[in-house]
Assembly symmetry: C2
Homo-oligomer: 429 residues x 2
C-alpha cells in the first residue's frame, strides 16, 4: 500500500473509531460483550421495531395548541385545524412521534353513582380489570371515565364528550378506542387490524353491515358500543355532527322522530347514539369512505351466540397447544405478543366471528344492563350475569396463566389451580 493510501486509511480508521467510541458510550448494549457479531445481530433482532420510550418529563416552551386561549375541551365547542395542531405537538415531542401511528388510548366508563343492580359495580369492576389486563399486555393506555362531561349528554350520549376530551388530552395517540363498560375482551392476544383501517384512510371503525343499513334499514345494522376513531380533524367534525343529534341539540326530539321514521324496527322514541350514527351513514353513502363497517371478526360480538361456545373454543386451543410445545412455553407477561404470533398459523382454519372457533375478540353483553339491572326481558337475569362471569373468567384464564394459575370452572371466580409446567399437557384439561 502506498504512503498516500496509508494516510487515507489512517484518517478513515481514526474517524471511524471516533464515532464508534461515541456511539459505544451512548449505546453500550450493541458494542459490549463477547461474541460481538452475534450480539449485534441478536440485539438488532431484539431491538427491531422499537423506538425511544416517550419522554414523560419533557414539554418544551414552544407554543402548541394548548397555549391557545380559545381551546375548549367541551363537546359543544368546535375544534379546528386539529391535524396541524397534532402534527405540531408531535414535532415538539419527538420521542412520542415514532410510536404514535399505532398508539391507541382505550376509553371506557360508567355512571358517577353506585349501580342500582346489587352486583352491578362488581361486574363493572371486573370488566374494567379485564380491559386493564388487555391494555397492559399490549402497551396501550386506558382511561376510565365516571363523570358527566356535559350535564345534558347522559346515558349512551355521555361517551362522545369523553372521546373528544381524550383526543385533546392525548395528542400522542393516533386512535381513541371506545369500549362500553359491559363489553369484555375475550381474546387477550388479538390486536385491532390497524393496517386494514389505514389502508384506505378510514377514520372510524365500527361493527356493522352495509346491507342492514341500506336495504333492511335496521337500527341494529351497526353497534356503537365499541368504536375506534382516529385522532384527527375529520373525527372532530364527525363527532360534532353525531353529537348534534343528541341531547345537547335543540332538535333532539325531532331527530328521534326522524330516526324512527327511517328505521322501522326502532321501537323507542328517543334519538340514541347508535341510530344517529346509522342515520348519518344512511344519508350520506360517501361516509363509508371514512367509516369502516367491520364485519369480519368480533370487533364486538353478541354474547348470546358467543357464551355457549367458550367450552369448545377452549378445547380447540388446548388441542393446538398439545400439538405445539412452543405454545405451552411459559413466558413473561410482557412478551405475550410473541406467543400470539406463534399461535397464528394454527388458527388459519379457525375462522373469525360467528360459527368459528377462534376466540371471540370482544363479547358484548348488549341488553344486559349490568349497572341498572334493567336487562332486556328476552334475557333471563341469571343468563346475563352468569354469561358475564363466564366471559370474564374465560378472559382471565388467558391472563392468570402468566401468573401461574387457571380457573378450572368458568362459573367459579374464586377457585384457581396451578397451571403446571407444560400446561395444558399437564394440569386441569
Amino acid at each position: 500500500m502506498t504512503n498516500d493510501g496509508c494516510l487515507y486509511m489512517g484518517g478513515a480508521v481514526f474517524a471511524f473509531l471516533l464515532v464508534w467510541c461515541g456511539w459505544s458510550y451512548a449505546n453500550p448494549i450493541v458494542f459490549g460483550g463477547n461474541n460481538f457479531m452475534l450480539r449485534i445481530v441478536s440485539d438488532m433482532r431484539s431491538e427491531c421495531c422499537t423506538h425511544p420510550t416517550p419522554n414523560l418529563r419533557f414539554d418544551p416552551p414552544d407554543s402548541t395548541f394548548y397555549d391557545d386561549s380559545e381551546l375548549r375541551y367541551s363537546i359543544d365547542k368546535k375544534v379546528t385545524g386539529w391535524d396541524d395542531k397534532r402534527k405540531e405537538w408531535l414535532k415538539r415531542h419527538p420521542t412520542f412521534t415514532a410510536g404514535s401511528k399505532d398508539m391507541i388510548v382505550m376509553v371506557t366508563g360508567s355512571q358517577p353513582n353506585p349501580c342500582q343492580n346489587p352486583i352491578g359495580d362488581h361486574l363493572l369492576l371486573r370488566a374494567f380489570k379485564n380491559k386493564v389486563d388487555y391494555c397492559r399486555i399490549h402497551g396501550y393506555d386506558v382511561f376510565y371515565n365516571n363523570v358527566l362531561l356535559h350535564p345534558r349528554m347522559k346515558s349512551y350520549w355521555a361517551k362522545l364528550p369523553v372521546v373528544k376530551a381524550a383526543m385533546l388530552a392525548h395528542p400522542e395517540a393516533e386512535w381513541i378506542w371506545w369500549v362500553d363498560s359491559d363489553a369484555v375482551i375475550t381474546d387477550m392476544e388479538y390486536k385491532l387490524p390497524l393496517d386494514r383501517y389505514n389502508y384506505k384512510g378510514h377514520n372510524l371503525a365500527v361493527h356493522g353491515w352495509p346491507k342492514l343499513i341500506y336495504e333492511e334499514k335496521s337500527w341494529t345494522s351497526l353497534n356503537a358500543s365499541v368504536f375506534l376513531i382516529r385522532n384527527c380533524q375529520w373525527s372532530m367534525d364527525f363527532i360534532d355532527a353525531w353529537a348534534n343529534m343528541g341531547t345537547i341539540s335543540p332538535d333532539y326530539k325531532k331527530w328521534g322522530e326522524i330516526q324512527r321514521s327511517v328505521f322501522k324496527d326502532k321501537l323507542f322514541p328517543e334519538s340514541n347514539d347508535q341510530t344517529a350514527l346509522i342515520y348519518l351513514i344512511y344519508k350520506d353513502r360517501r361516509l363509508t369512505d371514512k367509516i369502516y363497517l367491520e364485519g369480519e371478526y368480533y370487533f364486538k360480538g353478541y354474547w348470546v351466540e358467543i357464551v355457549p361456545t367458550y367450552y369448545n373454543i377452549t378445547k380447540k386451543y388446548v388441542g393446538i397447544e398439545r400439538e405445539d410445545n412452543l405454545l405451552r412455553r411459559r413466558h413473561a407477561e410482557k412478551v405475550s405478543e410473541q406467543y400470539a404470533a406463534f399461535r397464528e398459523p394454527h388458527l388459519k382454519e379457525a375462522g373469525n366471528g360467528r360459527w368459528c372457533w377462534r376466540r371471540p375478540f370482544i363479547t358484548h353483553f348488549t341488553g344486559c344492563q349490568p349497572c341498572s339491572g334493567n336487562h332486556n326481558q328476552i334475557y333471563a337475569e341469571e343468563s346475563c350475569w352468569n354469561g358475564m362471569l363466564k366471559a370474564l373468567n374465560f378472559a382471565d384464564n388467558q391472563v392468570l396463566r402468566k401468573y401461574g394459575f387457571v380457573h378450572p370452572d368458568l362459573l367459579d371466580s374464586k377457585t384457581v389451580t396451578d397451571s403446571l409446567f407444560d400446561y395444558p399437557d399437564e394440569g386441569p384439561w
Copy 2:
C-alpha cells in the same frame, strides 16, 4: 494544507459520512430537517433519559428460568437463584434492560365475590380507576387481582401469593408495589423516591417508625397495606418467612399467640400480615438494613388526619399556581411529570406528611372496610364513605384537569365544570 493532510482529512470525512449516513438511516429524527444543530440539541434534550421501548414481540428461544420444570408460582414453593435468573432473562431481552431499574408494577386487588357493602364495589371501582390513572401518568403497569391464589391465604394474607406471582410474571420489573384496594393516591405527581431505597440497597419499604417497634412494641408501628418490594432473591426469601406466619403455616395459631404476647395493644388473636412483619423486624434488628421504615412522607397516610386538610391544601396549590403561570399551562397528560418538576421548587416550604400542606401521597382508609362495610366502630359510617369520595374526587381533579374539567365540589362526583384556559386564574376558584 499539505497533500498528505488532505488525504488524511479526506479519509476521515469519508468514514465519518459513511457512519453518519448509516446512523441517519437508522435514526432519522436526529439528522433530518432544518436548523440542523438546533434540532440535534433539541432532540438530544428531548431524548435525554429515554431508551428503546421494550419489544413486546420478542422472546428468544434461549433457555430461561421459565423453561425450568421445577418452577412454581405458588406461595408454598420456594424460588432459588432468583437474582441470576432475572439477570439472565434481562440479558436475553435487552430492550427491557435499560428501563428496568426504575420499573414498577403496581399490584392491588379485592375479593372474588361482590362486596357485602352495597356501595363497596363502587368505591373499589373508583379506587382502582384512581390507581390506573396514576400508573398511566407515570408509565407503570398495574395488575388487579381478584382470585385467591392459595385457598388458605385469605383476607390480608391473600396479598403475599399475588406479590410473589407478580414477581415471577414480571422479571422486567425491579419493584412490585402492593397498594391495598382502600388506599387512594392523592398526589398524582409524586413519585416514590427510589434513589432513597437504592442508596443503601434496601429491598422493602413500608410506612413505619423504629421507635414504635422497639420501644413501644405496638402492632401499628408500621402499616402493611402499602409496601414496595424489590424483585430479588432476598424478597423471595423474606416473603417465605413472612407467609410462614400466616394461614398456610401449621403454627398459625401459635404465631397469633406470640404476636399478642409481644405487642400488647393487639387485641385480636389471629396472626395477621402486619403484626407478622413487625414481629420479624422486632426479632432481628439487622433486617432494617434491608427494610426501610419510611416515615418522611405519606407513603400511606391515615385518612382521619388527612381528609380534613384537602380544602386548605387545594387553596395552597391554587395560590402557587396563581403566582406561576407555567404551572397553569395546559399540557398533554403524558408530559405531566414535567409540570411536577416545575412545581417542586414551590413546595420547598410545604413539608411532607403530617401537619404539612403538600398533597398527601396516599390516603389510606384504614378501618373503613369499604367492601364488607364492617368499619371500625370508632368511625361513623358516613365519615368513611364521604371521606373516600372526597379523596377520590381530590385525586380525580388532578387527572380530569388534563381532560379539561374539574369537580367544584369534592362531595359531588357527578358534576364537573370546564377548567378554563389559565385555570385557576380563571374558573371555579
